[in-house]
Assembly symmetry: C2
Homo-oligomer: 193 residues x 2
DNA sequence: TTAATTTTGAAACGTTCATTTCATTAAAGA
DNA sequence: TCTTTAATGAAATGAACGTTTCAAAATTAA
């Protein structure tokens, strides 16, 4: 009976992600989203409920895109040292190809919205937990393989790496000198080796 | 002849800083600023030109407040190792006392506005240069005193520390566990010792 | 083909936005 | 005191905001 949703939801989310990423949440207007997605204003409200609702889906989309990308990158890693290097290489590549200096959507969102939107805060908390768990796993494996030191627990090193990644992403906004960024990464990774 | 400006400009800037810090640039309305400063709308425009003009002065105010604070902190530091520790202690203290999880105004501003407002981008670039120069100076002194290693140049370590500070400030938004944050700092500082 | 359901388009909703205007009030040097 | 300049208050500006409305068009199962 029903007419089914005719647009490609992922394509729409991709367009919306690009806008939110470039202009931030508060800097993005509904008109921006209408223009970018070529969707009708009503269709956006029918499908996403509100601007915030759409943004939540954009965050999820960005998150799972990042996971997919990481999954691919880590296919070629044969040990924990490779893995952690690949993770940082991925972020480095993101920075170097971010020609308009948008930074990381997740980091930007954290800085803009954690103290304003509880629902966003919750999302970012669970995102942080997931990332920390992933990093802890890698570090733990590396410590078992004796390629990482055991001066600190995998849990402690995971938080250090997480913090370093955020720092790298912030630094990359105003500095995209590959050599200098690689140097930061090397220094960061020395701590765990 | 003229009636002179009657309000205390620094007091006004302090109020305005609090608002921009809490809500971000795009999240702050002129009405918010009128309410916070108890200044008339016209007085704000007479004295600061525009919302962006006021924000620029707020950034300068925040920057010089930070410098003052750092100057005081570093009075008690007797060597380079003390100095760099005090710097990180200062940021840690900022995080632990930031009860409403606003983060760092400068970092937030970087993530929100670098790719939108050239005049803000320029300000942040020169702020970054100053901070890097300060850090490089500390590291250089420490290397001369042989309390820091010379595996990398003072310039390279300065960028690493700068990146680490930004990471710490971002991490502190969702995590204000003092022990865990101290642990990050210790790991960061191990790299240069 | 018909009935059900959704997408679409366009306009309008009331609110808020940053900024301007201007007459009034206040202060200081001449 | 008078003139000059600035601060003030309140209202208005027009544009943009997020959101809603609703009739028309489109699509599908029966």
């Amino acid at each position: 009976m029903p007419k089914t949703e005719s647009f490609n939801r992922n394509q729409v989310l991709q367009k919306a992600t690009a806008v939110f990423h470039k202009k931030g949440y508060n800097g993005t207007s509904m008109q921006d989203l209408v223009d970018a997605t070529s969707l009708n204003r009503s269709s956006i409200y029918n499908s996403f409920g509100s601007k915030l609702g759409m943004f939540m889906e954009v965050l999820s989309f960005y998150q799972s895109s990042g996971k997919d990308q990481m999954g691919k990158e880590l296919m070629h890693a044969h040990n924990s040292s490779d893995t952690i290097t690949s993770i940082f290489e991925m972020y480095l590549n993101d920075i170097l190809t971010d020609t308009d200096k948008k930074g990381c959507l997740m980091v930007n969102c954290k800085s803009e919205m954690v103290n304003q939107e509880p629902v966003i805060k919750s999302f970012l908390e669970q995102n942080q937990e997931q990332t920390l768990a992933m990093l802890e796993d890698v570090v733990h494996n590396g410590q078992m393989e004796k390629v990482f030191n055991q001066n600190q627990t995998a849990n402690e090193y995971a938080l250090y790496l997480y913090s370093s990644i955020q720092g790298l992403r912030m630094t990359g906004i105003l500095n995209n000198n590959e050599e200098e960024l690689r140097n930061i990464i090397n220094t960061v990774l020395k701590a765990i080796h």
